[in-house]
Structures are given as structure tokens and as C-alpha cells.
């Protein structure tokens, strides 16, 4: 609904609505092993077959109300609220509300800025959003399992939590964007703070208190603070030649402010440090015992750094010259650490150069080789993900219009590009961006058996008919 309020130049755009969303996921799996030979491919043609089934159901129902107010052509503001209920919320928890508000002011509309500033907009926003728990996290459950050999059994599974609430994230953002010199130089600056309260964390039971699954609880607070800045500059502009350069920077700091007094095993969530921070035990000494090299390690793990970069930068350049366009993007990432599982694993498997170089010519071990081997049998290799990477280089040729139209094509582009062409790092690994092979997406603090990101060369032809 749009109203023109009885005030001069003030507009109101009121909207409301209700929404119910039901998500049902069914997984049905049939596995067949050991086929008689080529020629059959159905599961039932296999000599051994197994099946599995998974089920998840979640319903979210909500109501929202929002009003957007405009004050002339320069000032806009929005107020809104959302009321949500979710089947995953604990039985003792009802509905939740998420308010939001924003304001933007197009300063350049007023005409009092110096002429060098061609456009300027200032904006700020506040909002809350929630993340619901897992579909059945709130239930106390017992799982059916096959025990002994094919006998049905039931085991305690999930301890449940009737008080489970959604995670609530409050974000405050402010920024400005604009252009100088008739928008030849454009800029965009943003800074944000978000605070996640009631973060859902799995707290393990003491094993003596049963239930193997962690109990999902709402605890403490995690803060994120970050900023983003970008500049676009049209450096040269001629009839058949122009050059645009772009610099983009962003930074983020993550911090667990509180875990609500809950003791969590491991160091993935620890007050005063980022989520999934990288921790490891360190070498504390070296001695020779009975002629053998012995490195000793600390009893406790020490903090090495955050798992994600605290600074990212991208520097891109685009050059047009007649029908040709050249583009290059260089990116830099700094501040992230990870445990490089490959390095000690290669040594322990006897296949790493840093071990092999110390072996005798006949392959027998030496004191130095023993030292390397023992060192990597008790310590993790903590590496930095700091790197500079030539992300992309491409050259595009636009076919002459007379040629395209002769064959009844529209605008036709021929592009040869290369991605991930080169990188520079200090990591004893194939690629500092590697993650745990096949691991979950939160296993960002480690890498093992990972393949490097491939170099990709692509020749493409794009046209329209």
C-alpha cells in the first residue's frame, strides 16, 4: 500500500504479509555391490544390496510489517518488524521478533557540495536476523541401531533441549558511496559490526552422563567487525583506448566474546579468540637420549591465528583498445593460519624430501633423518595462508559488426582467459588455500590430502542470435 501522507513531499510505502515455509528433505539411498559383470547396472542386479533413508522436516511461519518513508528525493528511511515461529524452536520457547531500520541520504541532491563531488550518498542500517536450530535438535531421542550381528537395538542418541532458541544476529552498518570528477573516480566505503547472541553450540555431555550427540544450547556471544572499501578509477579515456583500474580491500575480525560459562572441549570456540582459531602444541626442547634425537613438545596448545584472512585485497585493471579488451586481477590474502596435515604425514610415510635428503645412499636412516621423523611424529605443521595470487588474465576480441551481421549474429566476443595462473606463498604445501579433503565446511583451520586449485584456461565465444 502506498500512501501520500498529509505532509508536503513525504511518501509512505507500507507493506505487510505472512509466510509459512515447510521444508521436507527425504534421502533414499540404495547401494549395490559386487555385480556379476558388465551388462547390468540396477541395484537389484548386485549380489549384495543395502538401503538407507533420511528424513528432515522444518516449518517456519512468520508475519512481517514494513513501512518505507521518503522525504523528498534525498532522504529515505525504512522501519520494519518480523514475527517468526519455527518448528525447530524448543517446546518452551514461543515466537521471536526481528526489528529492522535503515536510512539513506543522497547528499548530492541538495546542491551544496563542491562541483568536484559529482555524487554522494550516506547510508546506515540496523537489523536483526535469526538462524533456527537443526530440525530435530530439540528432541530427546533414542536411535535404532543394528547390534551384534543383525539384531535390532536402541541406543541413546540426542539429549535434546526444550529451551532451544534461534541464534540472533544484530548488524549495524554504515557507509558512503559516491563519485568525483564527473564519476570518473568512484568510491564505496562500508563498515559493519554484527553481534551474534544465543549462538547455537553443541555442548558435549560428560560421557558418563550418556548420549553421544552434543546437546545443542544457546550460549554467549560472537562478534564480527569488518570493513570494505573499493575505488574505481577511469585512468585514461581516449577515442579508441581507455584504462580502468580498481582496488578493493576488505578486513574482518571475529571474536568469541562469551561462551556463557560453558566448558567446551578443544579450542574451536574459546573466549577471546576467533571461532575455529588455529591452535597447536609447540616444540619446547631438543635433546639426545640414548643416541636418539628427541624433540619435546608443550603440554598445552598455543594460539597461532585466525582461520580466515583478516585482510583481502584485489587489484584489477581493464584496458580497452579498439576491439580488444584486456583484464587482469591480482589478489592478496593475509592473516589466516592452518594446520597443514600433509607435511607431517608425508614425513611419517617416509616420502617427504625434507626426510629423504638426510637418508644414507642405501636408504638407511641417519641421526638427522630420525630427528626430522620424530619431530613430525609429535607436532603439527602450522602454516600461514598468506599469499598473492594472479587470479585472472583475459583477452577479449569483439568481432567487427559487419562480420557478425553478415552471419546474422549479434555482438560477438571471443575470449581467451586463464584463472589461478600463479601464486606466491611461504607455505610448505601445494596451495595455501587448501582445505580438509572432504571435510565439513567448518574445518577451515586444517588441510589434509588436498589438491591445489587448478589452473584453468578457457577459450570462449559468446554471441547472440
Amino acid at each position: 500500500m502506498t500512501f501520500t501522507l498529509p505532509f508536503k513531499k513525504i511518501g509512505s510505502d507500507l507493506s505487510f504479509g505472512a509466510q509459512a515455509l515447510k521444508e521436507v528433505a527425504r534421502l533414499n539411498m540404495a547401494v549395490g555391490n559386487t555385480f556379476a559383470g558388465p551388462g547390468v547396472s540396477t541395484v537389484s542386479a548386485a549380489s549384495t544390496t543395502t538401503g538407507a533413508e533420511g528424513y528432515s522436516e522444518k516449518t517456519n511461519a512468520g508475519f512481517h510489517l514494513q513501512d518505507r518513508l521518503s522525504f523528498g528525493q534525498a532522504l529515505f528511511t525504512t522501519f520494519g518488524v518480523r514475527l517468526d515461529g519455527n518448528s525447530a524452536f524448543g517446546e518452551n520457547y514461543g515466537f521471536t521478533t526481528y526489528p529492522k531500520a535503515d536510512v539513506s541520504w543522497i547528499v548530492s541532491e541538495h546542491g551544496f557540495l563542491p562541483s568536484v563531488i559529482s555524487s554522494l550518498k550516506v547510508r546506515s542500517a540496523f537489523g536483526q536476523a535469526g538462524k533456527s536450530p537443526g530440525a530435530f535438535d530439540k528432541f530427546t531421542t533414542f536411535a535404532a541401531r543394528s547390534v551384534f550381528t543383525g539384531t535390532p537395538g536402541v541406543l541413546p542418541d540426542n539429549p535434546g533441549n526444550a529451551d532451544l532458541r534461534p541464534e540472533r544476529t544484530t548488524e549495524i552498518e554504515g557507509g558512503l558511496e559516491g563519485g568525483l570528477f564527473s564519476d570518473r573516480l568512484g568510491f564505496d566505503l562500508t563498515t559493519y559490526w554484527n553481534f551474534t547472541k544465543d549462538a547455537i553450540v553443541g555442548v558435549p555431555n560428560a560421557p558418563s552422563q550418556g548420549f553421544s550427540a552434543s546437546r545443542k544450547v544457546n550460549i554467549g556471544r560472537v562478534d564480527n567487525h569488518g570493513w570494505e572499501a573499493s575505488i574505481n578509477y577511469l585512468a585514461l579515456s581516449m577515442k579508441r583506448f581507455d584504462w580502468t583500474t580498481n582496488l578493493r580491500l576488505d578486513g574482518n575480525h571475529n571474536n568469541v566474546v562469551s561462551v556463557g560459562g560453558v566448558i567446551l572441549a578443544g579450542n574451536a570456540v574459546r573466549e577471546g579468540y576467533p571461532v575455529q582459531g588455529v591452535w597447536s602444541r609447540t616444540a619446547t626442547g631438543f635433546s639426545v637420549v640414548n643416541g636418539k634425537p628427541v624433540t619435546t613438545r608443550s603440554d598445552t596448545a598455543v594460539y597461532f591465528g585466525p582461520p580466515l584472512p583478516t585482510l583481502n585485497a584485489g587489484f584489477g585493471n581493464t584496458v580497452h583498445f579498439g576491439p580488444f579488451q584486456a583484464y587482469a586481477l591480482l589478489s592478496v590474502a593475509r592473516g589466516a593460519s592452518f594446520s597443514n596435515g600433509d607435511r607431517p604425514y608425508r614425513v611419517r610415510q617416509g616420502g617427504a624430501d625434507e626426510l629423504l635428503q638426510f637418508l644414507n645412499p642405501d636408504g638407511t636412516s641417519t641421526f638427522k633423518a630420525d630427528s626430522v621423523s620424530q619431530y613430525w611424529s609429535i607436532l603439527d605443521a602450522i602454516e600461514t595462508r598468506n599469499s598473492a595470487r594472479l587470479r585472472e588474465v583475459s583477452l577479449t576480441y569483439t568481432l567487427p559488426e559487419w562480420l557478425s551481421s553478415k552471419y546474422k549474429f549479434g555482438r560477438t566476443l571471443l575470449t581467451f582467459s586463464g584463472q589461478n595462473l600463479m601464486w606466491w606463498d611461504h607455505c610448505h604445501c601445494f596451495d595455501p588455500d587448501m582445505n580438509w579433503a572432504g571435510g565439513d565446511p567448518f574445518g577451515i583451520g586444517s588441510g589434509f590430502l588436498a589438491q591445489p586449485s587448478p589452473r584453468v584456461f578457457r577459450l570462449s565465444l559468446r554471441t547472440r542470435f
Binding site: F63, G85, F89, V147, F148, G210, I263, I378
Partner: protein, 439 residues
């Protein structure tokens, strides 16, 4: 006109909210068809599955308890590339160890099995009333609970005596196991269930032995009938059983016979393909002892590519059962108690009951002229052979004070308390470990 539109809109919003609010109660109800709720399990038709689940949980971790304690003992050693295996195999683990290690998961599951047993016992009482205390189902969960305590005491130097309780030493676990075995025995007797009577009695015999109640141990051991055996069962197929026996022959070549015994294996046929089964020799006759099957084809290395690998062929594959207790163990308990009482001929006679029967079929020991030390040496070697890789060896080395002489100084004599229990039990704190004792 504008005011009318506004009024209608507001009423529409209010009406929608009211309809929405009243209907949401049912909209937001979901059920999980994959699991049982607590109330759904209070059904007589499901109780057998509940008690089987309890026993299955204990058996599921039993092989890991065997593997981990044997790795600490002189029977097997680490041939893997895993730090956790090396930590145990070298005996360098200590109390309040900084990582969970290989051992924490074992104690975690033993403690969970105990909790499951207690939870199931409460459920049986809730559903069956007075009949529960006379049922086989109750006998099953009570016996499993007692066995969980016994294995915990044998493997770990500290445990909580009750869910969420403070640290207690293994000696207290043995005492508690005796009490619980007695309780289980009473229920099993009332339920007229020989299976659980024998399993509880055999467990009490061992618990009494380890608690130092030798006469009671002898009485229980003699009360277990000939031929009795209780095994933990495993399957090759994880969809029809819990994951298989981790002590099986190959086990990714990660742990094999400790080098102390390599010279005791006849490897003269190890270049033959396939290499015939080999055995650790009986030290008294130098004959191959069929109770200690191993396999070492020539040049075979562990997965670390540096240590000779003698696989434990007692368990040929992942479905190989592990004996938890048997009359043969009872014979050894009887022999030990008789030795402690100074009745050396009776001790030798008890040893010979195992030694001269299948599968050993070895010449009998002669009792004549043997000193107490001689009998002890035979008792120790027979315990190793008869209970080979069944999870007893480290307990024996510890209680007979043989860790230093067999494995060297500076080694942990038991596994430390689970790090997961320390961190998540409000009645425990890090830094309060009083064990394991060091050789």
C-alpha cells in the same frame, strides 16, 4: 476514501495476524520418524531392543578397549603413522593428557554403556513394575552395567563411579563391579537365566580377583560351568552390525605383535606365498602355540613403512568375535588363587586343564619340584597365551609389577582418564590426575 482504505488495511492485518497466530500451533508441530522419543520407548514391545542396544554398546567398544590396552602392553606395538597410537605404544601418555588421544573415546563409550544400562533399568522398572526385577531383560542390563565398570577399572586408572561423579581410582571401580555383579547375579538367578548367571558370576570372579578378594574369586571361578564362553560379536557389514572387530588381522597394518616376541615366531616359511599361519611359540616346549596366531610374510612392514609387521591372526577378519570371559579364564583365576594360597599342585592342575585341551593341546606341566616362582612364571605365560590379545595383558603387567622389566622405565602403567570426561564433568578439573603410575 483514503481513510476507509487505511481502516480496511489495518483490520486486514489484525485479522490475518489472528488467523495466523491461532493456526501456527499445529503448523509448527513436527515429528522425527528416524528415532524413538523417551515415551515411545516405554513400550513392552521395544524393551528387548533397548536391552540389546545396551549390550551392543558395550560390545561395540570392547574391541577398542582391547586394542588400546594391548597397545600399551608388551603384546602389540604401534606400526602406524598416528601420533595417538605412538603415544600409547611408547607408554608416554600421562594423566590429564593434553589431547583426547586414542584412549578417551574408549572410556567415553564404556561410561555411556553404563549410563545406557542404568537408563534401561529405570525404563524396565517404569514399564514392567515389580516384574522387572525378575526378568532376563533386567539381568542383561544389570550384568552389562557391572561389566562396563569392570572393563573401565581394568583399562583406566581413574573413572567416575557414578554419572557426572568425581574421579575415583580403579580399585574403587573393582569394588563397585563386585557389588553390581552380585546384584546382577541375584536378578539373573531369580529370572532363571543361566546365560546371565554365568556371565555375572564370571565377571564377579574376575572383579574379586582384581579387588584382592581371592577366596571369593576362587569360589566364583569354580562355580562357572565347563564350556562356558561369552563373546563380543562383530560383523563385516556395518549395516547389519556395529563396526567390526578392530583387532582383526590386518587392521590397516597399524599395530602388530610387539618386537619382544618376534624371535618367538617360527618364520621359516615366511617366503612361501601365501605364507602359512604362524604362531608365537610356547616358551616351555618351543612348540607353536595355536592360541597365539600371527602372520608375517617376509619383508612385510607396518603402514609406517619402517616396522616389521606381525599381524594378529587370532582374529582373521572384522567379524571375528572376541572372548570376553570363559571357563578357561576361570581356570586361570583358580590357578592364580591356588598359587597365592601356596597350593602349587592345585595351581598347576588348573593350568593344565587349559593347556592339555584344544585348542592348545600342549604337554602338561609337571608340578613336581616347582617353586612358587616357577609356578608364577607358568601362570603368567599361560595367562598370556590363553588370553592372548583379549585385553588382559596390561592389567597383568601392572598388578604383578612387571612393566619396568618387560617394557622399561618411564612408562604409563594404565590409561589415563578420558579428556572428554574431565572437560565436561562439572565435578572434575584438569590438573587433578593422580595417575597413571609410571614404571
Amino acid at each position: 476514501m483514503r481513510n476507509t482504505t487505511m481502516r480496511i488495511s489495518v483490520w486486514a492485518v489484525a485479522g490475518l495476524a489472528a488467523v495466523f497466530g491461532s493456526s501456527c500451533k499445529d503448523i509448527l508441530k513436527v515429528t522425527d520418524p528416524q528415532t524413538f522419543s523417551t515415551t515411545a520407548l516405554d513400550d513392552p514391545a521395544v524393551l528387548q531392543a533397548v536391552t540389546n542396544g545396551v549390550e551392543g554398546q558395550l560390545q561395540q567398544i570392547y574391541d577398542d578397549a582391547v586394542l588400546t590396552t594391548e597397545l600399551l602392553s608388551d603384546e602389540i606395538e604401534d606400526t602406524s603413522t598416528w601420533i595417538d597410537f605412538a603415544d600409547i605404544s611408547t607408554g608416554r601418555i600421562r594423566g590429564d593428557w593434553a589431547t583426547g588421544g586414542q584412549f578417551s573415546g574408549v572410556q567415553d563409550e564404556l561410561l555411556r554403556a553404563r549410563f545406557s544400562a542404568q537408563d534401561a533399568a529405570a525404563r524396565l522398572t517404569r514399564v514392567m513394575g515389580d516384574a522387572a526385577s525378575k526378568s532376563k531383560l533386567m539381568a542383561q542390563v544389570k550384568t552389562v552395567e557391572a561389566w562396563a565398570d569392570l572393563i573401565n577399572g581394568m583399562s583406566f586408572c581413574e573413572s567416575p563411579l557414578v554419572p557426572g561423579g568425581p574421579r575415583a581410582p580403579d580399585t574403587e571401580m573393582y569394588k563397585q563391579a563386585v557389588t553390581k555383579m552380585t546384584d546382577a547375579l541375584a536378578v539373573a538367578t531369580t529370572a532363571n537365566s543361566p546365560e546371565w548367571v554365568n556371565f555375572a558370576r564370571a565377571g564377579r570372579a574376575r572383579a574379586n580377583l582384581l579387588a584382592g578378594n581371592y577366596d571369593a574369586a576362587l569360589s566364583d571361578a569354580q562355580g562357572v560351568p565347563a564350556g562356558f564362553i561369552k563373546q563380543a560379536l562383530y560383523g563385516e557389514n556395518s549395516s547389519t552390525s556395529l563396526p567390526g572387530n578392530q583387532m582383526h588381522q590386518n587392521r590397516n597394518r597399524s599395530a602388530g605383535l610387539r618386537r619382544l616376541f618376534w624371535s618367538m615366531v617360527d618364520t621359516s616359511q615366511n617366503a612361501t606365498a601365501p605364507t602359512p599361519l604362524q604362531y608365537v611359540k610356547d616358551p616351555w616346549t618351543q612348540q607353536a602355540d595355536p592360541r597365539m596366531a600371527v602372520l608375517h610374510p617376509r619383508g612385510r612392514l607396518g603402514v609406517n613403512n619402517s616396522t616389521s609387521f606381525f599381524s594378529i591372526d587370532k582374529y582373521s577378519d572384522r567379524s571375528g568375535p572376541i572372548t570376553m570371559t570363559s571357563k578357561r579364564e576361570m581356570n586361570l583365576i583358580e590357578a592364580e588363587v591356588q598359587w597365592r594360597k601356596g597350593d602349587l599342585p592345585a595351581a598347576i592342575a588348573a593350568l593344565n586343564r587349559n593347556r592339555t585341551a584344544a585348542p592348545a593341546n600342549l604337554p602338561a606341566f609337571t608340578a613336581t619340584g616347582l617353586s612358587a616362582q616357577d609356578v608364577f612364571d607358568r601362570l603368567l605365560s599361560e595367562r598370556m597365551a590363553e588370553l592372548f590379545t583379549e585385553g588382559h595383558r596390561m592389567t597383568d603387567l601392572d598388578r604383578f609389577n612387571l612393566v619396568t622389566s618387560k617394557l622399561g622405565a618411564g612408562r604409563a602403567r594404565k590409561l589415563p582418564l578420558s579428556r572428554n570426561e574431565i572437560l565436561n564433568n562439572v565435578n572434575m578439573k584438569q590438573g587433578q590426575a593422580k595417575c597413571p603410575a609410571i614404571s
